[in-house]
């Protein structure tokens, strides 16, 4: 008697709820992208707390982040908060040492349509 073959033409869901799938072979596996509310997206590599980094797009709180926004490693990230409105840049290095004198050069900046100049020191 010939073998009985059972095939399925459909694909299964990826394993974990709230996680976007990606195709691997003929299966759907978990990608690093999560959507808990259906209107937000954030990346979590490995689905562990230490993997929460990369992007976080949350229209409900009007916050959009790129980088190490959850301060898992060094916290270098840019966070756009449209509630403020503020753009927070985290991880830039400041210094207190050394002699700082005017360079004779100014950084030209326009904020909300108004021109400003920042005194650049050497």
């Amino acid at each position: 008697m010939a073998a009985i073959s059972i095939t399925s033409q459909g694909a299964n869901l990826n394993p974990t709820s709230d996680i976007l799938p990606y195709r691997k072979g003929n299966q759907f596996l978990d990608s690093p992208l999560q959507s808990e509310s259906g209107s937000d997206i954030r990346s979590n590599f490995g689905n562990v707390p230490s993997g929460l980094k990369g992007i976080n797009l949350d229209p409900s709180t009007k916050q959009y982040s790129l980088g190490d926004w959850n301060n898992v490693d060094n916290g270098t990230a840019i966070i756009i908060n449209d509630n403020g409105p503020q753009i927070n840049i985290n991880g830039l290095i400041t210094t207190t040492t050394g002699l700082h004198t005017p360079s004779g050069t100014y950084l030209n900046l326009i904020i909300n349509g108004v021109s400003y100049h920042l005194n650049l020191l050497t």
Binding site: S8, Y22, D68, G75, D82, T96, T105, N108, I110, I111
Partner: protein, 139 residues
């Protein structure tokens, strides 16, 4: 006797390209722009299935580097690069788009008409390869 084949017509087919995230395209799964390149790296692509065609957004968690913009220099290469291990945030200075007056224009940031004392800190900035510092004042 021929083989007995039992097929299940239910369920959905996968999207066409391996490692690509799907989206519902009129009742079937199509390839989205998002690629799961490795367990630690994702990116958006302009050509699903083409190696190296990564542009727009790169999340490289293995190296702690995150890029947004024209990451593959398809046009001018204007992009934002965040390097978490080095604590650096870079705007590609060779192609940053300035307006005709060579000014950087920001919208939405709040300014104040007063500020506190010298904070004793300087913000380090590199413009066209020259290092500068900007004095920071307390709030």
């Amino acid at each position: 006797m021929a083989a007995i084949v039992i097929s299940s017509p239910g369920g959905a087919q996968t999207n066409p390209t391996d490692s690509v995230l799907p989206f519902n395209n009129g009742g079937v799964f199509g390839d989205s722009m998002l690629v799961q390149y490795s367990p630690t790296k994702m990116y958006t692509t302009y050509s699903a299935g083409t190696p190296g065609a990564e542009n727009g957004l790169i999340i490289d968690n293995g190296n702690g580097e995150y890029q947004f913009g024209d990451t593959d220099a398809q046009y001018t290469g204007n992009r934002l690069i965040i390097n978490s291990p080095d604590g650096e945030l870079a705007i590609n200075s060779s192609i940053i788009i300035l307006n005709a007056d060579n000014q950087i224009s920001l919208n939405g940031l709040l300014t104040s008409v007063s500020a506190g004392d010298n904070a004793g800190l300087h913000l380090k900035l590199t413009i066209n390869g020259t290092k500068y510092k900007i004095q920071l004042l307390d709030d």
